[in-house]
C-alpha cells in the first residue's frame, strides 16, 4: 500500500530522463531509438500515474511521518448551498493523500522556498489524463514525425514539456507550479517554432518562428501578472505552500484576512490576488483578450497542437484557477472569471465558423471550450469545470490527431504545402480513403458537439446545468456557443469527410507555392495512416465515447465528484433536454447548410459567405483583433521605444558631449590664463631652478660622507613633519 504515492515523483522524472538522455547522448543520432525511448518512458509514467490514482481512489493517506492509513471513512460534506454562491456548490480543500517537500532555497524570512509534490484526487485525475493523452500523442508522433530529420529534437522537447506539465500538476507550492508553468511556455515556444526554416510565399502569412515568438510573448504578459500575484500573496501569507494548515496559502485565517483587507484601489486583497492569478489563466488558457496566440500556434507540428495546445498546457490555466479556488471563493473575482469565460466561449465559436484551415477551426474550438471551463469556475461549478477539462482533453486530442492523420493523408495528394493540405475546401469524401480516421473523428465530433451520450455531452451539460441555476446570462451565452459548436463541427465534418474529393484540383493559391520535393503527388489518392497513428486514435476515441460515465448526473453515479470529495452537480432534466435539442439542432443546421457545399469545385464560396458575405468576412478575419493590437499596442510600443532611443542619443548623450565641450572650453580658458600669467612666472621659476641646480651640482661632491649627512638631514626633516603634522 502506498508504493505509488511514495514514488509519485517518478512520474515527471521519467520524461525528464527521456529529455536528458535524448539531448545529451548520441542516441539522438538514431531517430527511431529516441522516439521509442520517449514513448516507452511515457508508458512507464502512465502505469505509475494509474497506480497512484487507484491508491487515491482507495483512500490511502500517507502522513508526513510516513505512516500509511487506508482511510475509508466518509466525510460529511456541507450540502447546504449558500444562496448567493453561484451554482450552489461549496468547494472545500481536503487534506491531500501525500505531501513531500524539501528545503530548496532561503526566502528572506523564516520560511524557505521548498520543492515537493502533493497528491490529492484532483492531481491524480490530472496525472492520469496527462499521461494517457501524452502517451497516445507520443505514439502518434512516432508515425507522424517519421520522415522529419529533426525527430530526435522533437521528442526531446516534447518529453521536457510532459515532464514540466506533470511537475506542475503535482507541485506542492505555487512557486514550483509557476516554474513548471514557465518551462511549459518555453517548450511551447520551441515546438511551435519547430519548423523554424519554413517560409511562406505570402509575406503576410505568419511563419512558425513568428508564431512561436507571438505565443511566448503573449502568454508572458499573463505570466508577469501571475508572478506579481504570487509576490503579493507571498507578502501577505509568507508562504506559497498549497494547503489549509498554518503557514499555507489556504489557511482559513489568512483567507479571512485577505478577504477583509482593502487595498488602495478599493478592492480586497483577495480580489486583487485572485485577479492577478487569473491573468495567468487568461494568458495560458488563451482567454480573451490574450487569445490571439493560440490559433497561430497551429503552425507547430500537429501532435504538438494536440498535446500542448489542446489537451494539456492550455488547460493548465483552468487548472491554476481550480487549484487556487479557495482564494477565488473569498474574493469578488468570480463574476469577472465567469464573464471572460462565457464571452470567450461565444466569441471563439463565432470565429471558428468562418475558418477554412482544419487545425485553426479546432484551435478556435479549443478557445471556446476553455471558455466553458473558465465560465464554469466563475459560477462556482468546480467539479463541472474539471470534468469538462478531463473529457475535453481526450476528445480534443483525438480531433487534433485525427486532423493530423487527415493532413498526413492529404499530403500524399497535394504535396507538403500546409496551406493547401490543411484547407478543408480541398478535402471532401475522405471517409472512403481513411475509414479509421473517419470513424474516430466522428466519435470526437459527436463528443465535442455534445451529442447525447458522448463524453462531451455529460461534461458540458453539467456546466450548463450549473450555469442555468447560477446565472441566466452565462447560461444563454454558453448555450449559444454550444449551438455554434455543433454547427461549425458539422460544417467541418461535412466538408472534410463527405461529398466528393477535391484534392486533385486544389484551390489556386494567391501566391505560387514552390515545392521542395519534385515528385508529383497528383496521381495519388489520400491514404490511411500507419498503425502507430491509428492506434492512438482508437484509444482516444474510446475515451471520447465513454469518459462521460465517470460522472453521470444521476444519483449514485457521481463518481468523479465523489472521487474529488466535492459536491456533485444536480440533475436538471430541463437543461439536459435543451442542451440535447441544441446539439442536435446545431448538427442539423450544419447539415442543412453544408450538405451541398463545394460539390463542384474547391473554388466555390462558402455557403454562409454567399448568404451573408459581410459578417462572414468579419468572422474569417477573426474580428480583426490582431490588426487592432498591431495598430494600437504594436505602434505604441514601437513609438515609445523610438522616443526613448532618441532621448538617449540626443538628450543624455548630448548633455555628456556638451559637458565635455564645456570642460574643453574651461581648459582653453585655463590655458590662456596659464600661458599668459603663470607660464611666464614658471619660466622665471625655471631659470631660478637652473641656477639652483647649478648650485646643487656644486653640492654633489661625490663624497659619501656628504650624502649620508644629507640623507640624515632629510630624515630629520621628515621626522619632524611626521611628528607635527600626522600625529
Amino acid at each position: 500500500m502506498g508504493w505509488f504515492l511514495q514514488n509519485a515523483w517518478l512520474i515527471p522524472l521519467l520524461p525528464l530522463i527521456g529529455f536528458a538522455v535524448i539531448t545529451l547522448t548520441p542516441i539522438q543520432r538514431n531517430k527511431n531509438a529516441s522516439a521509442w525511448l520517449a514513448t516507452l518512458l511515457m508508458v512507464a509514467a502512465t502505469v505509475i500515474a494509474l497506480g497512484t490514482a487507484i491508491e487515491v481512489a482507495s483512500g490511502v493517506k500517507i502522513a508526513a511521518d510516513g505512516t500509511v492509513a487506508a482511510h475509508t471513512e466518509e466525510k460529511a460534506y456541507a450540502a447546504e448551498p449558500a444562496a448567493d454562491k453561484g451554482a450552489g456548490h461549496k468547494f472545500e480543500w481536503h487534506d491531500p493523500n501525500i505531501v513531500r517537500t524539501i528545503r530548496w532555497a532561503p526566502a528572506g524570512g523564516d520560511v524557505p522556498f521548498t520543492m515537493g509534490y502533493i497528491i490529492d484526487p484532483a492531481v491524480a485525475a490530472m496525472l492520469v489524463m496527462v499521461t494517457i493523452t501524452a502517451t497516445c500523442i507520443h505514439l502518434f508522433s512516432v508515425g507522424y514525425m517519421a520522415h522529419d530529420p529533426r525527430q530526435a529534437r522533437f521528442f526531446s522537447f516534447i518529453s521536457l514539456f510532459t515532464a514540466a506539465m506533470l511537475a506542475m500538476v503535482m507541485a506542492s507550492n505555487l512557486l514550483l507550479f509557476f516554474m513548471a508553468w514557465e518551462i511549459m511556455g518555453l517548450c511551447s515556444y520551441l515546438l511551435i517554432g519547430f519548423w523554424y526554416d519554413k517560409n511562406y510565399a505570402d509575406p503576410n502569412q505568419i511563419t512558425p518562428r513568428q508564431a512561436a515568438i507571438k505565443a511566448f510573448i503573449t502568454t508572458r504578459i499573463g505570466d508577469v501578472l501571475f508572478m506579481i500575484g504570487l509576490a503579493w500573496l507571498w507578502t501577505e501569507a509568507g508562504t506559497l505552500e498549497l494547503g489549509t494548515g498554518p503557514g499555507q496559502v489556504f489557511n482559513p485565517e489568512l483567507l479571512e484576512r485577505l478577504a477583509t483587507t482593502t487595498t488602495g484601489i478599493g478592492i480586497s486583497a483577495a480580489t486583487g490576488i485572485a485577479l492577478l492569478i487569473f491573468s495567468g489563466t487568461i494568458g495560458k488558457s488563451a482567454q480573451f483578450p490574450l487569445h490571439v496566440w493560440l490559433p497561430d500556434a497551429m503552425e507547430g507540428p500537429t501532435p504538438v497542437s494536440a498535446l500542448i495546445h489542446a489537451a494539456t498546457m492550455v488547460s493548465a490555466g483552468v487548472f491554476l484557477t481550480a487549484r487556487t479556488f479557495p482564494i477565488f471563493q473569498v474574493s469578488d473575482a468570480l463574476p469577472i472569471v465567469a464573464t471572460i469565460g462565457a464571452f470567450t466561449a461565444l466569441f471563439a465559436a463565432l470565429i471558428a465558423v468562418g475558418q477554412f484551415d482544419i487545425k485553426r477551426i479546432l484551435a478556435y474550438s479549443t478557445l471556446s471550450q476553455l471558455g466553458f471551463m473558465v465560465a464554469a469556475l466563475g459560477i462556482g461549478g468546480w467539479v463541472a469545470a474539471l470534468f469538462h477539462l478531463l473529457t475535453h482533453a481526450f476528445f480534443k486530442a483525438l480531433l487534433f490527431l485525427g486532423s493530423g492523420s487527415v493532413i498526413h493523408g492529404m499530403e500524399a495528394t497535394v504535396g507538403h504545402d500546409s496551406n493547401t493540405a490543411q484547407d478543408i475546401r480541398n478535402m471532401g469524401g475522405l471517409r472512403r480513403f481513411m475509414p479509421v480516421t473517419f470513424l474516430t473523428y466522428m466519435a470526437g465530433f459527436l463528443a465535442l458537439a455534445g451529442f447525447p451520450g458522448f463524453a462531451g455531452f455529460w461534461s458540458k451539460d453539467e456546466i450548463l446545468a450549473d450555469a442555468f441555476r447560477a446565472n441566466t446570462l452565462v447560461w444563454v451565452t454558453l448555450s449559444l456557443a454550444s449551438l455554434l459548436t455543433a454547427f461549425y463541427m458539422t460544417r467541418q465534418i461535412m466538408v472534410v469527410f463527405f461529398g466528393t474529393f477535391r484534392g486533385h484540383h486544389p484551390r489556386q493559391q494567391p501566391y505560387a507555392f514552390i515545392s521542395h520535393d519534385n515528385h508529383h503527388h497528383e496521381a495519388h489518392d489520400p491514404h490511411e495512416s500507419p498503425w502507430t497513428m491509428t492506434v492512438p486514435l482508437v484509444i482516444l476515441a474510446l475515451f471520447a465515447v465513454f469518459a462521460g460515465v465517470v460522472n453521470l448526473p444521476f444519483d449514485g453515479f457521481h463518481h468523479l465528484a465523489d472521487f474529488f470529495g466535492q459536491e456533485a452537480g444536480k440533475l436538471n432534466l430541463l437543461v439536459m433536454g435543451i442542451s440535447s435539442a441544441i446539439a442536435i439542432g446545431g448538427i442539423f443546421l450544419g447539415w442543412l447548410v453544408y450538405r451541398n457545399a463545394f460539390t463542384a469545385s474547391a473554388e466555390e464560396a462558402d455557403p454562409l459567405e454567399q448568404m451573408m458575405p459581410g459578417i462572414f468576412t468579419v468572422l474569417n478575419r477573426k474580428f480583426y483583433v490582431d490588426e487592432l493590437y498591431a495598430a494600437t499596442f504594436g505602434i505604441a510600443a514601437a513609438a515609445l521605444a523610438r522616443i526613448w532611443t532618441w532621448f538617449d542619443e540626443h538628450v543624455i548623450d548630448r548633455i555628456v558631449i556638451e559637458t565635455g565641450r564645456f570642460t574643453q572650453f574651461l581648459g582653453q580658458v585655463n590655458f590662456i590664463i596659464d600661458d599668459a600669467m603663470l607660464n611666464d612666472g614658471a619660466d622665471l621659476m625655471a631659470t631660478g631652478t637652473q641656477v639652483a641646480g647649478d648650485r646643487t651640482r656644486r653640492a654633489t661632491t661625490g663624497k659619501v660622507q656628504d650624502y649620508v649627512a644629507l640623507a640624515f638631514a632629510g630624515a630629520v626633516v621628515l621626522g619632524v613633519l611626521y611628528l607635527y603634522l600626522v600625529r
Binding site: 530548496w104 512557486l175 518551462i183 504578459i221 505570466d223 508577469v224 555628456v656
Partner: protein, 507 residues
Amino acid sequence: MNLIDLPANVPWLSLIWLSLVIPTLIIALMKPEQKEEIRIVGTVFSFISLALTLLVYLAYDYRSPEKFQFLEEIPWLPELGINYILGVDGISLPMLLLNGIVIFTGALISWNIEDRAREYWALLLLLAAGVYGVFVSLDLFLLFIFYELAVLPMYLLIGIWGSTRKEYGAMKLTLYLMGGSAFIILGMVAMYFSGMLRTFDMRLLAQSALFSRDVQIVFFVPLFLGFGVLAGMFPFHTWSPTGHVAAPTAVSMLHAGVLMKLGAYGCLRVAMWIFPEGANYWLLPIAIATLINAVYGATIAMMQRDFKFMIGYSSVSHMGLTLMGLAAANTIGLTGAVLQMFAHGVMTALFFAVVGRMVYDRTHTRQFPELGGLFSVMPFAAIVFIIAGLSSMGMPGLAGFWAEFNIFMGMWQRFPLIAVLAGVSIPITAGYILMAAYRVFFGEMKNPEFRHLPKITVQEYVAGVILVAVLIISGIYPAYLTEPIEASVQPIAEALARAGTLGVRYP
C-alpha cells in the same frame, strides 16, 4: 556549512589576486613573438585563480556567526587608519567566483588575439586581478586602490584592441568612471573625517552609531552615485553600451560581466552598509531611477539594429534590476540583487562571447539586417545564446529566474507599484531576445558566404559549456549561492530596517 576545510595559515585571499599579478609579470618578461606560450600562461593562471576561488567558496562556513572569514590583516599605514585587510563573506564570495569564471572563460575566448598579444594579456589579467582585489578588501582605501587598478587597464584595452569608434568609447567610459571615482573619493574623505575613528576598516565604519543621520543622508549620495555610475545607473548609463560595443570580446565579458558588478557591489558594501540611514532616506528616488533603468534599457534594446548594442542595453536593463533589488532594502531583495549580479555576470559574459567572438569575429558584421540563418552554420552558438537569453528573461531552471523572482518579491514589499511597473520589462526582454535569436540564427541567410564560416574552436566550446553549466546549476539549485548570500545580507537588511523605524520616529 562548509564542504571542505582549508589550512588556516595560508593567505588564501592574497593568493587569489596575486595569482593574476604573477602571470602579468611573467608575460611581461616573455618575448612578444611567443604568443602561444603567452596564451597558455594566461589561461593556466586564470584557471588557477578560478580553482582558488572555488576552494575558498567551498571552505566558507555560512552558518558560522563569524561572517567574515579568511581574514588577513597587515598594518600598512596604520597612522592613517589604512591597513591591508582582506576577508570574504557571502556577498563577496559569489562575486569572487563570478570573476574567476569570467576571467577563465574570457581567457579562453581571447586566444584569437594576434595583435600585440603580450600587452593584451598582461592588461587583461591585471584588470581581473584588480577586480579580485576589490571583492576581498575590507579596508575602504585598499578597495579604492584595487578599484582604480581595475578601471585603468580598461582604457588601454578598449582603445587599442577595440572596434567601432574605440577611441570615443574608451574615452567616454574612462571619463565617466573617473567622474564616479571623484564622487567616491569625496564620500570616502567625508566618511573618514566625520567618523571619530579615523579608520578605513569598513567593519568598524559600519557600526552606524558612528555617523549622525545628517552626515549619512548627505554623504550617502556621492558614494552611491559614484558606484552607481559604474553599475550603469540611469541617467549615468550611456557609457556602458558604447563601451561594451567598442571593447574586444573578453573585455566586454569582464566589463559587463564583472566590472559593472563592482559598482553594484560598492553600492551595497560601501554606501548602504556604512550609511544605512542615508540609504533608507534615499530609497524611493533610487527605486524610481532603477525602474527607469530596467524598463527604459529594455525598450531601447528592442530598437537596436546592432547585435552588440542590444546586449549592451540589456545589461543596462538588468543592472537596473540589480539596483532595484538593493533599493528594496530587505533580505530577499538584497539576496536577489547579489544573485542577479552573479546570474547576469555569467549570462552576459556568455552573450558577449557569442556576439563578439563566435558571430562578429567570423561574419565581421553585427547588423541584424545583414545577419541571419546562422543556426545551420553554428548551432552551438545559437543554443548557448538562447540559453543565456532565457536566463535573462527569467526562465525557471536558469539562474536569472531566481534572481529576478527574489528582486520582485523584495520590491513588492517595499514599493508594490514599482514592482508592477518593472514587470513591464519582462515581456519586453523576452521580445528583444527572441527577436534577436530569430533575426540572427533562424531568419533567412542573407549572405551566402556565411555557409563557409570557420568552425567553433575548442576554446570557444569549453568557455560556452562552462558558462551554460553554471547558469543551469544555479538555476536548478540556487541555494548554493543564496544560502551564504542571505546569511550575509541579513545584517545589512536589519540595519536598514532599524534605520527605517528611526526615520519614522524622528523625521
